[in-house]
Symmetry: C2
């Protein structure tokens, strides 16, 4: 990739922020969550349409990563750990069924389409993903982050990230022509779970102390800077120790929410998020490659066919996962729909499969179509299921994550 | 430059933020402006000492540029244009004398050191620079941004940026072995001045209208996002049209300060600045190459000699510039000291000279030393001249740029 000049960098930032605001405004006008507009805005300015924003530039990619770290940290700040534990079994059921069922159904469907075993496994693997970023943002857009359904979806999406790491390990070994070793699967699982438990347990005692010390030392600077250091530090540690980066950011948010200055921190993070979070959604949109869906080639006709099948299987599998915890009294449909968007996680899986030569161009196009459709239908469906009646305006909480998320 | 992974990126951000906070705290403890600690923190974590932060990564460099854009935008938000105009003649005198005198004295001194004409011109050119970022930040650290001296220094530092563009044009032509063409000098001057006047004149009428329209359209999102779009957009336009990027950011701040929601915008920009502005100062510190000053080589002994001479000439020239407006009743010494730091502008000139082969390694070392010393002595000197008496704590304005700057 060539060098990104300051001039081009500034121009891309202006385009990304402007398209996020304008398309977000239009989405809200027609009664949709703003995040839908930001995603579509990204498709519009991305390489396959206007070509104004190129997500292959390292700096653009890293700023988007920073955006999702800030988003998950902000979500963590709003998350009540006790509440999350209370719905833990329900979330775990949704997560596990939401991985197993789409994978099994996807694998069978791909074999039925005449694909061989490896491409079928790879395509099925992309069906297991849930984009915790998009899911959480839609819930926050609708002011439902702390509802019972919201907490179940959030917990399941976080657990899905751990399951995703395990699947990634398996798929990587398979795509390299190796046997799946139970040892490496156990290792990945162990690392991810130990990070989650270890960071929570250690941070529970250490983080309040850090803030107390900073206050006593009269360190110049707001608690926000310290909170950012903890968020970025735990994201780094998670990534470094073989867990998922955004798990670290989420845990950091849960830990920092307990310190006395958490309201002030929330306010500061919201302002920073206003700038960085929309960049993430625009970049996810811009990463979609529409050229893989050009209907003039035979490959693309297969892409459309495969995409259609994967969409049906992908939506059905996650919806069924919502109904899996049969004891749950709330809306199982809401939970199922909330688990549907594959977002950037699905795109990462698909690109890995393409790079490894396991996915053909046609099948990659189909997977892309499935990621795009599942990502874009979830916001309007959830809005319809959860949102206020038409004409009734949604009143975002002042200073809260709802504000970050609705107005950004 | 190799690829910067997300892991390494997160680690560098944590290091940069942490060192900025800790060193900033130490600087304040010993009665110095926080920015001094941030600069020294940068030297500490940079390639020539701990090697934790590498400023050659494109993303790190671009984030620092974003930091200085945000800083100059924030400074512009606090700037009273009428006040700036009132001291215009004084600022212009300081700026012009502060370019001509250090250049002439530096050129003569370099010839006396036995250097030939081209290296002497290049080294003298670095003496003309004034770092508006560092100057403005120190003034804000001390709560003196809106004092009479502060406004004169700020105006002169901005004008110095225009003069710097002209010098850059001349030096580039000379270093390429061409004759200096009066046409290209006139063109550079014309472009820089027309951008300044044009952007102010057009923006004066257009910017309030944009904010009114955005309010009427009920665009979701805070005025802060719109303000950021204008700041980044004008920075881009300035850079694109051959003027200086930070001039665009500064003009954007002056324009946005006039809209009704400017207090809210100032607050949002302050929070974003808390994150991005320290990155700029750490990167400036980390860009200093201490290896050019290793005293074991003959080249480095020359570097120390040349550096010593350039420091004397560089400080004397800018101090004299402060005394040039003989009619000015305030502290001429404060103005002179305020113009002293060369900062990142001096480093950019020096690196250009090194890359063009005009500056030898020894002379580059000397210039680096001059940049470092003039940058690091200005904050403590200004603090001594302007700061509160020992024991008396400086009370930063809440929500203002002082807050951004003192606490960041």
């Amino acid at each position: 990739m060539e060098h990104l000049s300051v001039t081009a960098f500034l121009a891309m930032l202006v385009v990304m922020l402007a398209v996020a605001k304008i398309m977000g405004a239009i989405a809200q006008r027609i009664g949709q969550p703003a995040v839908l507009g930001e995603l579509l805005g990204g498709v519009l300015v991305g390489p396959s349409m206007l070509g104004l924003v190129d997500t292959r530039f390292e700096t653009i990619e890293l700023l988007a990563e920073l955006g999702v770290v800030i988003l998950l940290f902000a979500i963590g700040l709003e998350t009540d750990l006790a509440k999350l534990f209370k719905v833990g079994a329900t979330s775990l059921t949704v997560a596990v069924v939401g991985v197993v069922l789409p994978f099994a159904m996807g694998y069978a469907a791909c074999l039925a389409l005449g694909l061989s075993s490896m491409p079928a496994i790879m395509a099925a693997a992309t069906l297991t993903a849930t984009s915790v970023g998009i899911t959480a943002r839609v819930l926050a857009d609708l002011g439902q982050l702390s509802s019972l359904e919201g907490q179940i979806i959030l917990g399941a999406a976080v657990l899905d990230d751990i399951l995703g790491l395990i699947i990634l390990t398996i798929v990587t070994e398979l795509s390299e022509g190796r046997e799946v070793s139970p040892g490496s699967v156990a290792r990945t699982t162990g690392l991810a779970i130990s990070f989650l438990i270890g960071a929570l347990a250690v941070g529970w005692f250490v983080v309040p102390g850090i803030f107390r010390m900073a206050r006593r030392l009269q360190l110049p600077g707001t608690p926000t800077a310290l909170a950012l250091i903890i968020a970025l530090g735990l994201s780094w540690l998670a990534d470094r120790s073989g867990s998922a980066m955004i798990l670290g950011a989420f845990v950091a948010g849960i830990l920092v929410a307990r310190v006395p200055s958490s309201r002030e921190i929330e306010h500061g993070i919201t302002e920073i998020g206003h700038f960085l979070v929309p960049l993430f959604f625009v970049v996810v949109g811009a990463s979609v490659d529409l050229t893989a869906l050009d209907p003039r080639t035979a490959e693309s006709r297969f892409a459309l066919l495969a995409g259609g099948v994967l969409i049906v299987v992908g939506v059905a599998g996650k919806l069924a996962a919502g109904y899996a915890p049969f004891w749950f009294k709330g809306s199982k449909l809401v939970v199922g729909v909330g688990m549907t968007p594959r977002g950037e996680v699905g795109l990462i899986f698909a690109k890995m499969g393409l790079a490894a030569g396991v996915l053909s161009a046609g099948l990659f196009g189909g997977v892309t179509l499935m990621v795009m459709v599942t990502t874009l239908i979830a916001p309007p469906l959830l809005k319809r299921l959860l949102g206020p009646a038409p004409g009734e305006a949604h009143e975002p909480e002042v200073d809260g994550i709802d504000d970050l998320v609705t107005e950004a």
